[in-house]
Amino acid sequence: MKTYLLASLTVFLACCYVGNAFAADSDAGEMEMLVFPESYTAGSVSGGGTISGVVTFEGDVPEMKKLEITKDQAVCDATEKYDESVVVGEGNALKNTIVYLIDISKGKDFDKAAKLEIDQKGCQFNPHVQIVPVGVRITMLNNDKVNHNVHIFSSVNTPVNKQQTKNRRRMPLKAVKKAEGPVSVKCDIHGWMSAWIAYVPHPYFAVTNEKGEFTLEDVPAGTYKLGYWHEACGTNSGSPASVTVETGSTATQNFTLKLK
């Protein structure tokens, strides 16, 4: 009898394994996304350290394309606007790169006081890349006196497509339930408007500033995989950097990115 049971169990497990392998395969070909831990427990962190660094761009810096403003010129074309998919500053500093911990399962909680907003001033999203915690509402601002429509191309969560009429200064959006992203944010009325939102399950995410700098604070001591994502340069999800954080000290990790 034992043999029968064992045999059936083996077949059962084998099928599960094969099935999972197929499932994993079908996801791998998707767009380059962030990698999230299976679960995350938030609590207080004592004796943590810091990870910081600079992201720089390598190769011929592409010229920032001037956006063609096809309507509402009085508001949208008041200042010159440029495509922000690759923003390179002094010393080849690369702005708008997400740097994050891939495999953290326990650490600090989100900063509850942080203002989560994307402005649409002058028909351009600001910031261009926004981190949004799962379960938290983000507010869209519109002081343009023109109509916008906020179109968020989620596929894990329900996509958002909401008109923000010209007099609606603040429009909070429903919080999402699942980690996802980054997902594209567009305004169908002004086709050139483009931004990205990453819905994240833990607070160890940073977006590089004009100087290409990022900082992840209060990281519990340990060794982590450090990942990045950039709209035009892709991710290092396949071979993330390994960083060891020691109590009270700062670990440095720089990245050099090329166009995909």
């Binding site: 009898m1 049971l5 059962f12 497509n161 002004h190």
Partner: protein, 573 residues
């Protein structure tokens, strides 16, 4: 011992069954073999075997066949972000989607088969299995009946809510954002021409319009105007009106700032409640009341808007041309009316539907022009035509096709035979711009809007401008997504290659149109087949002379006969 063997055998069988079921779940669960079979026979060519909208025919289609794996369905009776009901899916399969490649399946598939397909389509998206509660339906209670007053309120909302951005001033889908729209999958998409209700994908009943508006059209740029994204959500109609006044001021006084601030607080509170509800939180009785009150205003306004949209389209698709497919030119005495003359309003348009040219490469599988409408007057020496057709974009030849490098522009061509066929059974030239029998064409292009060129053609790729030009007078205008073209010519000309016209003779007429923004150029265009055109003969003025004359003569004759008979009778006596 024997019993134990039976038990273990049973367990083995159960174990294997478990394994089978799991393996089964990995390969997209099947609602039923029947549904799969029907789907693969009837739907997969466009929607793909795996439901990804990538069937073998998908490449040439726009709008693209729906990708079922995202759970995004355009035509729903449910709120924004909700899945469709099974009935929604069944209805769309049954009725098809006008203006797209999705045909109605009411005759090709039995109702049972259609239900099987519904069950099967749902297996492409796990959300159907995972959702624990049925999708929330859009309430159609408290419908505001169609009335001029309601239409007027709706018209204001059409502008305030920004419908105008894509659908344009009078709804012809020509808004300033129209040319840059893409759908969830990145494919170009055009806003609906609201003046053509027969092409609304989900039907043109006021209820249909209301549902599209409240629920949005998932996967397309059409947003959902549900609850909290609505103008002044949480305010009463009066409060909203007052706030609009304040908001439209260039600068507010301190008192006004304070007043508007209070409105914003009220709005924020209501929005908060709506978001709580959307996130699945239980509402308190008071919150529910606030929400219901806010939604009541939203729904009221939405009915007004639906009534306005309804007012933009005729009830039905017009019948093809006037009376038995014949365009009848009306006789007038004196000068023919110019393009802007009110006299044109007195005529009914002949409606000539056009379809993509798919006979000769390059073809047009995704036409954007629905039809050409025509009116005509003539007098003793001349004939005038007024052609109108809807085109969402004005392309005047300053753009080029990316692949061919050819100049793109809007255009219209009117086709006649050179020689009118004698009698109804005589052959007409081939409708694709002639062949053995040549055709005579009037070719108008948006880059030279005050000019119509006369062509002679012996095939779609074999057209030549006539040597003698300038016989045609032309006026044209593009406004609010519609072209108007006015052409006048003498009934008779000296050119042997021209068509000669005389009253009462039926002349074949056909149309070609190009929408430059849709990539139309050369043979890639929309066309009609042959229709008939006639200068409606004027009933002769002699009808006022001969019939009375005959009547008088008849009566006179009868009296004469009577007198004659009477006299003969008296003589006999």
């Amino acid at each position: 011992m024997r019993n134990r063997n039976v038990v273990s055998l049973l367990m083995l069988v159960l174990g294997m069954l478990c394994v089978l079921m799991l393996a089964h779940a990995q390969n997209a669960p099947e609602a039923s073999e029947k549904g799969k079979e029907v789907y693969e026979n009837s739907c997969a060519h466009c929607h793909g075997v795996e439901g990804r909208g990538d069937g073998s025919a998908a490449e040439n289609l726009l709008p693209k066949p729906r990708d079922f794996t995202r759970g995004l369905y355009k035509i729903r009776s449910t709120e924004s972000g909700q899945l469709p009901t099974d009935q929604d899916l069944f209805d769309i399969i049954t009725e098809g989607m006008p203006g797209s490649s999705m045909p109605p399946w009411d005759t090709a598939l039995s109702a049972d088969d259609r239900w099987e397909v519904v069950a099967y389509i749902k297996t492409f998206y796990d959300g159907f299995k995972e959702s624990e509660t049925p999708p929330r339906a859009i309430s159609l209670e408290d419908k505001i009946p169609y009335a001029e007053e309601s239409v007027e309120i709706g018209k204001g909302l059409y502008v305030d809510l920004g419908c105008v951005e894509c659908h344009g001033n009078v709804g012809r889908g020509d808004g300033t954002s129209a040319p840059t729209l893409t759908d969830e999958w990145g494919f170009q998409t055009w806003p609906a021409n609201l003046a053509q209700g027969w092409n609304y994908r989900g039907g043109a009943d006021t209820e249909d319009i209301f549902k599209r508006f409240i629920g949005g059209i998932a996967g397309s740029p059409m947003p959902a105007f549900e609850g909290d994204s609505f103008l002044h959500f949480g305010l009463t109609a009066e409060e909203s009106k007052r706030l609009s006044e304040l908001e439209n001021k260039d600068e507010m006084t301190e008192a006004e700032e304070e007043e508007s601030g209070k409105f914003y607080e009220k709005m924020d509170a209501a929005v908060d409640i709506a978001l709580n509800r959307a996130e699945g939180m239980e509402l308190s009785a008071a919150e529910q009341q606030t929400y219901d009150n806010a939604m009541k205003v939203v729904y009221e306004k939405s009915w007004h808007l639906a009534n306005y949209v309804k007012s933009l389209t005729p009830e039905k698709r017009p019948e093809s041309a006037i009376g038995n497919n014949v365009l009848r030119s009306q006789y007038v005495q004196g000068a023919l009316p110019p393009m802007d003359d009110a006299a044109w309003e007195t005529l009914q348009s002949g409606y000539f539907p056009v379809v993509g040219q798919v006979v000769i490469e390059p073809r047009q599988f995704n036409p954007t022009i629905d039809s050409v409408n025509v009116k005509s007057f003539y007098n003793d020496t001349e004939v005038a035509f007024l052609f109108t057709w809807d085109d969402r974009t004005q392309t005047i030849g300053d753009e080029t096709d990316e692949t061919t490098g050819k100049t793109l522009e809007d255009a219209l061509a009117i086709q006649f035979p050179v020689k009118v066929p004698q009698g109804p059974t005589a052959p007409k030239p081939y409708f694709l711009w002639g062949g053995r029998l040549p055709v005579y064409l009037w070719h108008w292009k948006a880059s030279a809007p005050e000019q119509v060129t006369e062509l002679t053609a012996k095939g779609i790729n074999n057209a030549e401008a006539q040597e003698a030009q300038g016989e045609l007078q032309t006026q044209s205008i593009y406004k609010d997504g519609q072209y108007k073209l006015w052409v006048k010519r003498a009934l008779k000309t000296d050119d042997k290659k021209d068509l000669q016209l005389e009253p009462g003779v039926f002349v074949p007429i056909a149309f070609s149109a190009w929408d430059g923004a849709n990539g139309d150029v050369d043979t890639k265009r929309v066309m009609s087949s042959w229709y008939a055109f006639v200068l409606e003969p004027v009933p002769s003025s002699k009808r006022f002379i001969y019939p009375p004359l005959i009547a008088i003569l008849s009566v006179g004759f009868l009296f004469g006969l009577r007198a004659f008979v009477q006299r003969r009778n008296s003589e006999e006596v």
